[in-house]
């Protein structure tokens, strides 16, 4: 029981990180029908920006809560710029091209970003001292002590907060409405006087800033990053997006949590070596029974 609870806590934390990245995949897919394979690397860039800012702020005497907020904002802004630039350079010129062109371009961008960070920051792993320490301990008298660290609480709370804001943005604001309109009919959206290119750019900006928050959480949680983390995390988040139903935003959140939970429970109870296989096999099994993912809408062709 105690062991289960601990895995649940760990899984939810990891799931939050995946969920935040998965939203970027699902939004971009929704609006331009393309899998942005560079998104995982945007997450990695976010992690690096957060790491660098943490190290810089460590030299100052600013108190911890303010540092956290500042790092969050800095990594969101910087990473959003990266996301925006990637879209402008690699996808926008190909918008009218055939469907696979931006996909190939995305793979290229992914390699570019990895090598850029490798060249700029070095190939060795980078470490960060724990920023938030301590936590609550439960079941102290039993043999397995369950720990809920402050960091885990922080990660889950920030994730919930951002997802709430994000949901409001999509459902309540004019921008969200324009994004949903673009998903359905880009030509008609432009004829309504809406700048479609700008709406797409905004999608990349929002997706990238959410990924950067995931990157910040990642570097705080694991304390170790290198230029290659974007690959596996990106693929996992993509799996999460597909699991939840690609194009569906609640689906991405749900998929992220599920992948996080599956991965932790598998490593907790079965074997840690095969945790990635567990996550990806789940996807295969789910897609057999729900071809559009859990919350995805099937394409209905009206005859």
């Amino acid at each position: 029981m105690e062991y289960f609870l601990q895995q649940l806590i760990n899984g939810l934390t990891l799931g939050s990180v995946y969920g935040l990245i998965a939203i970027g995949y699902t939004m971009v897919y929704g609006i331009i029908g393309m899998i942005n394979f560079a998104h995982g690397d945007i997450f990695m860039v976010g992690a690096f920006v957060a790491l660098i800012s943490f190290i810089l702020f460590a030299l100052t005497a600013i108190s911890l809560p303010i540092v956290l907020i500042l790092v969050l904002l800095i990594s969101m802004v910087f990473t959003a710029c990266y996301g925006w630039t990637v879209e402008k350079l690699a996808y926008k010129p190909l918008r009218k091209s055939f469907r696979l062109a931006p996909l190939i371009s995305a793979l290229g961008m992914s390699i570019v970003l990895q090598n850029y960070v490798q060249a700029a920051q070095g190939a060795r792993i980078k470490t960060l001292q724990p920023v938030i320490q301590g936590g609550f301990n439960f079941f102290k008298e039993s043999e397995f002590v369950v720990t809920l660290s402050y960091l885990q609480i922080f990660i889950v709370l920030v994730t919930i907060f951002l997802m709430a804001i994000f949901t409001l943005l999509i459902t309540r604001t004019a921008l969200g409405r324009a994004q949903r309109a673009c998903e359905q009919d880009r030509t008609m959206t432009a004829l309504m006087g809406i700048n479609v290119d700008r709406t797409i750019s905004m999608t990349f900006i929002i997706g990238s800033s959410l990924a950067s928050v995931a990157g910040m959480m990642f570097v705080m949680y694991y304390g170790v990053i290198d230029f290659y983390i974007g690959f596996l995390a990106g693929i996992k988040a993509f799996t999460a997006a597909v699991l939840g139903g690609i194009g569906s935003i609640p689906g991405a959140m749900l998929g992220g949590l599920l992948i996080g939970l599956i991965e932790t429970f598998w490593s907790g109870y079965i074997s840690i070596e095969y945790k990635d296989i567990a996550a990806f096999s789940t996807l295969v099994i789910v897609l057999i029974f729900f071809p559009t993912g859990f919350l995805g809408k099937p394409d209905i062709e009206k005859v």
């Binding site: 409405r177 359905q184 008609m188 309504m192 809406i194």
Partner: protein, 264 residues
Amino acid sequence: MSEKLLSVENLTMKFGGLIAIDDLSFSAMKDQITSIIGPNGAGKTTVFNCLTGFYKASSGSMFLNKDNKTLDLKKFSDFKVAQKAGVARTFQNIRLFPQMSVLENMMVAQHNKLMAASGFSLLGLINAPSFLRKEKEAKEISKYWLDIINLTNRADDNAGDLPYGDQRKLEIVRAMCIEPYLLCLDEPAAGLNAKESAELNKLLKFIQKEKKTGILLIEHDMSVVMGISDHVVVLNYGKKIFEGTAQETKKSPEVIEAYLGTEE
């Protein structure tokens, strides 16, 4: 005599060797309904595509008179056609946002003013009063139009679930939410039954009279064309073969020959 809204001068559109529009000149007056009719393939929709920036005309010019300023429509493309030039259009097939509610379809068309009022979304997130006020105004405008086409009680249903005739009307009032100077309607009566086309006539007349919006209409349904047009332009093989009032058009031998046909 009302003032001139749109003047098309010597418009030519070539696709390789095919001349889709051949030296076409006509004009449309403010608060009038101008119909473009002609057989299939006469180039009617191509005219719309040139006007709304989908095609770049091979030669010729199109000017829109907007608040005493003359705009060269050739310079507008993509979203600027609606936003800057004030030209709205609908398509032959229905292009609503089927998975958004009826109300949301109307709100999307009012995006630009809402976006400005929401401070590019930031104020919208915190529900700032200035944004809520604009949002409320936009809803009022939507309700106003939905009342006219009797769809107020279905405002929260998905647009894709409406009956065909209602979707057609929704598309027209949605275009009106852009507050256009010129409304281009491509076969709005296609697929409507007699009762529905009569309602359409009423709606278009209302827009013309109350909103002082110029309407450019492509239509095959002669009950609509002859019932409401102030001015008719007849095309055949990309050339204008006749221009005049509805009554004159009905009697014109060239039009009867090329398009209307004779009654037995």
